[in-house]
């Protein structure tokens, strides 16, 4: 006889785990199906030798201090019933938006950025303060907000295009599935989470968060099944009834919460819609370097540098393997608390999935050679960010868009998913809901909130 549960959750990433905790907390029978052998999804980790590496997470956004009430991070901890102190958050030193002529510096205190803008763009300071007020008063999580392009709204306040480009740069690359612009609600989510709240890192990195979630899930009686790929979502007359796992086993269920992405979910659905959601254009490479010296010994005390070598910031699919003229460079040693013995440098570039896929199809050697070229590029970007080259490389690793696709199953190797989001989590099929990236809340905090709110809205409230 087929197994029967109340809710099947697809994917053991941040959103799936958070949803699983909520549902199992209230005695719903759930199973989380994960096709990979580890949890975390887009934010995961791995080990090579004695070294541990984070994937995805550069920093946790939405930093709040414990006494700061009603912010997204506090909200989600309360919903998951995990005390604040267990995350052991350590704040960034500062971050830099580095353009050809100007550098803007920001910390977790917005006053710092305001002063820097006042110094470098004195004629724009009133406009920026006006924008700030507008953003603070805006309800970005209202699920019925109209879609408006953010740059057009921001231009009502700020005239200098180069300042606009600088403000958008971190917000786009840390969470936009759209090229060069984003929906204004999404812009406000990102602005608040990065500029008004800010960056931190849990001691021990992303695995600290994942371990907390897993511990809570298992205390509630929830279960994760690994190497369990959902190969079919079974539905009839617009209503789901079961999933098929690994091409054979059937699990019956009342509802499905899928975090595998909107196009990816629709792809395994029995009753296919006429218009499939579009696959996003943006993917990334990342070079990870372990060095014998720490960044501070090599002249850098910034935590994250948003590097851009053009007057405008091109956040779009490049026509080459990677865009060499822009990158995000993360120095995890430069959070307040440094738990690494060695120097760690991470360089992330916007990349073209199709071109990487072609290289891989040509030959493995060819692909390896291209990865090496990316690595050499990242050395030159580190130099342009001001890192002294007087260090030895102890270890290196490079991942590409095809790596992302292999591990996350995301079509096109996307990190921020489809350009078609389902903000209220519904699909044309009854009982099938999406959470995670393609519900539209992004980042680690966003994805956990997505899992929580979709579980509350579609499963807990429905049943109560």
């Amino acid at each position: 006889m087929a197994q029967k549960v109340d809710c099947v959750i697809i994917g053991a990433g941040m959103s799936g785990l958070a949803a699983g905790i909520r549902l199992s907390m209230f005695n719903k029978k759930i199973v989380i199906l994960e096709k990979h052998t580890i949890t975390g999804g887009l934010n995961s980790y791995y080990s090579r030798g004695k070294r541990k590496f984070d994937v995805g997470l550069h920093a946790l956004t939405n930093f709040v201090s414990p006494e700061d009430r009603g912010r997204p991070f506090n909200k989600l901890m309360k919903q998951l019933r995990i005390p604040y102190s267990e995350f052991k958050l350590s704040q960034q030193n500062y971050s830099l938006i580095q353009f050809p002529d100007k550098k803007l510096k920001f910390t977790n205190e917005i006053e710092f950025l305001i002063e820097d803008i006042n110094r470098q763009f004195p004629e724009e300071i009133d406009g920026f303060l006006g924008l700030l007020k507008y953003i603070r008063d805006f309800n970005e999580v209202n699920l019925t907000n109209e879609t408006v392009m953010a740059k057009s709204v921001v231009r009502n306040f700020i005239k200098d295009e180069s300042l606009i480009e600088m403000i958008f740069c971190p917000l786009l690359i840390y969470g936009s599935a759209w090229e060069n612009d984003m929906d204004f609600s999404q812009f406000v989510v990102m602005f608040k989470s990065i500029f008004l709240e800010g960056f931190s890192r849990p001691e021990g990195g992303v695995r600290t968060i994942i371990d907390l979630l897993l511990k809570k899930l298992s205390a509630n009686g929830g279960e994760v099944r690994f190497k369990s790929e959902v190969t079919r979502i079974i539905s009839q007359n617009g209503k789901i009834s079961a999933v098929e796992v690994n091409g054979s086993e059937i699990i019956e269920c009342d509802s499905i919460l899928s975090s595998m992405g909107l196009p990816e979910t629709m792809n395994v659905l029995d009753e296919k819609a006429d218009n499939l959601p579009r696959v996003g254009n943006l993917s990334f490479t990342e070079s990870i370097l372990i060095a014998d010296k720490k960044p501070r010994d090599l002249g850098i005390d910034a935590t994250i540098i948003f590097y851009n070598n053009r007057p405008e910031y091109l956040y779009q699919k490049p026509q080459t393997l990677i865009d060499r003229e822009s990158a995000v460079v993360c120095f995890p040693n430069n959070f307040l608390y440094d738990d690494y013995d060695e120097g760690v440098f991470r360089v992330t570039n916007i990349a073209n999935f199709d071109l990487w896929n072609e290289e891989l199809l040509k030959s493995k050697d060819n692909y390896k050679e291209k990865k090496n070229e990316v690595f050499n590029q990242s050395l030159s970007i580190l130099k342009k960010c001001g890192l002294n080259s007087n260090f030895e490389i102890l270890f290196k690793d490079i991942f590409t868009p095809t790596t992302i696709k292999r591990y996350t199953g995301h079509l096109g190797g996307t990190v921020y998913g489809s350009i078609d989001k389902s903000r209220n989590g519904t699909t044309p099929i009854n009982g099938l809901y999406v959470c995670g990236t393609d519900q539209g809340f992004l980042g680690i905090v966003g994805s956990m909130l997505s899992g929580i709110s979709m579980a509350n809205l579609h499963i807990l409230q429905e049943g109560s």
Partner: protein
């Protein structure tokens, strides 16, 4: 017979588990919970679901406002605990 004091204790236990970082020992019974603690509508839903899970007590949506303060909680829930 469940006394009002016992009802209060049971509600307090639930709130303490939800508002992990709040001090629940200083709650004033006639002041709205929302004004004393960091609780939003999502958290009130949790109180309702915990009442159902722990004590098999159902609170229909139209009665959520009856849970506004500790005093009104006890008034509303005591008959249900004793039903």
């Amino acid at each position: 017979m469940v006394s009002n004091e016992e009802v209060r204790t049971k509600v307090l236990e639930i709130i303490a588990d939800i508002a992990l970082d709040d001090d629940v020992t200083t709650i004033k019974d006639d002041v709205a919970l929302r004004d004393q603690l960091d609780l939003d509508s999502m958290d009130f839903l949790d109180i309702v679901m915990e009442l159902k899970k722990r004590h098999k007590i159902e609170v229909p949506q139209e009665d959520y406002t009856r849970l506004a303060s500790m005093k009104s909680c006890v008034e509303y829930l005591a008959p249900k605990f004793n039903a």
